[in-house]
Amino acid sequence: MERRTLLKAGLGLASLPFMSRLAFGQDAKPVNFWYESASPENQENLQKLLVEAFNAKHPENALSVDFRGSDLDKQLRVAMLSGTGPDVVYTAGPSYVAAMAQAGQLLPLDDYATKFGWDKRLLPLFLDMGKYNGKLYALAKTYETLGLFYNKTVFEKNGWKAPATIAELETLADEMKGKGLVPFGAGNADWRPANEHYVSIILNSVAGPENVHKALMGEIPWTDPAFVASIDKLAEWWDKGYFGDNYFSLTGEQAFGSVGTGQSGMAPTGTWNFSNVGTYFTANQQEAGFVGFPSLKGDPVYALGVGSTFSINAQSDNPDGAAAVLDYVFSPEFYSTVNSVWQGEWNLPLADLSTVKLSDKVLPLYAETMKTLASAVGEGRYGYTTWTFLPPATDTYLVSGMEEVWLKRLSSTDFLKKLDETFKADKEAGKAPAIPPRA
């Protein structure tokens, strides 16, 4: 064959893959979405339930999800600062949203909210929390609470009861220590901010949600004796050995898993850990229990957290596509499919859950807990998690400052003094997230 013919044939063949692109006048517009970490199983779930389902419903958009791991928040900051970043922005909470909104990195969602009816589909409290300067910037992806997970099987074997007051909790913890168990399965090796889970718990359980609300509104300082008592109590638990020897060496999942294997007695942590119950409890033939964290008087405290939020990048090339993705996510259809396989991370604040159907494989404990939480929130009986309601520098300082108190490098009063100063500076700079009024 002549060389020229061969060349033409080769070029012809090589251009075949590109033919399909030329044939359609209009391609599906890409929408990209950076997600945090997810187990391989859950990555598949998201691919199937969100990406493929959405793309099938909306062929004019091509959604793709990129799993960035636990470094997502750092990568996102840098990307947004440089004006790039994904179309659908996943942030770790309202305090980050305030800063991004102030800088003009996020698109206001009010028009989309009215167009798609989000203002009626979501619980009003969460719409409030996603606002900055009166405009809506973020939709809460999951709301969660902190509580006490425990190993029901181990409890029954030892004749223990889930504690309701702080005093009961301490007695139980001492007994567990006596039996060689680590009272709290806790660890921050892979996520240093886990420290603030415990600070949130203690502030709400000892000082109480009313006091926390007053401090967030600036009515009382963070150096108030109620807060000093709370931090002292948390330091006392550390000194008594409730957190064990390996707090800084265990990852969050390892720590939670140790309750399932019976090495630890309880895990004061958040409802996001429901996604780990199957692996560490059910697989070990242990039954998991969950109660609201004990308080001074005995009524359970549900510190409210917005685990993550979705926003739209102000620099997005396809904001309508991103809005369509959000609309699909905040639907009872998606709630049902995703929560049937992945509990704890997708507790979307939908106002009407009547059409939601979860598969029978879902732990009844999960469904029960979520219902209790929803009614508590609806009635205004909730507390405040630090990552949702504190401004960024204050929240960042809290994580390291608590370690200093635990390791005896700083007194609780000095820690709270610095916290208060940082909080005031943040508030003056306009970085404080929205605090809904208390019922």
Partner: protein, 281 residues
Amino acid sequence: MHWLYVVPTLIINFAIVLIPALATVLLAFCNFDGLSMPTFVGLANFEALAADRVFWVALGNNIIWTVIFLIVPIAMGLLAASMLLIARRGSSFFQIVYFLPVVIATVITARVWQGMIYSPVTGVFGVLKQYGIAIPNPLTQPSLALFGVATVDLWHWWGFLCVIFFAALRQVPQEQIEAARIEGATYVQMMRYVMLPAIRPTITLLMIMTVIWSFLAFDFVYILTQGGPAFSSELLSTLAYRQAFYELNVGRAAAAALVISLFGLVGTFFYVRIQAREGEQ
């Protein structure tokens, strides 16, 4: 006309190095949250840094880090390089083995050390604990955290110095070595009177680069401890990073960056002076 040949490089240098550097210098005197417009505040950022206890801890840690890296990897590198010189046959194999840690991504190295060596649950330390040798995880002790991270960085770094010293040692004129051997020099005498003086420029250069690089140290600390526990392993770079991206205080981060550069400048000044002196000789 000749200087026109440097124009392309100068343009790149300007855009990527000079302008951002100038911007950092300017921002150090401003209040900037990384998002809205910066406002001039004079020396306020430096005053705030000086008043910040954590800044002094970080500076102290950087100095400790520099001292460690000036002594340990250079000594190890020289020793191993001289061994490689003696044992010529296995030298390529050992060079590869020593250099391998340098090439592995720092994140992977850090995670391996954190999870497979230091962890009292899943690592070598855990296995040792079962046999009764209870070594605490250095990353969890404020007094040991910096040294724990430095160990990982040393493991990753010393091979680089070894390879460079080996290359330098091979350049030592054979006549000098022969002469010393004929006169019956022992290994120590050979090193002290022939080898080390011959490669002195290389050693000097690497020592000064070590000073500069030590003030830039960031990745291992950030991945392993993020400056914790309780700021005990905080370095100036992790301080700057946290202030820029978490506390949204880019002005103060720029001020910390200037402090880092100051130490680098001091090192550079000494290097240029030594080079000039050697050039005259």
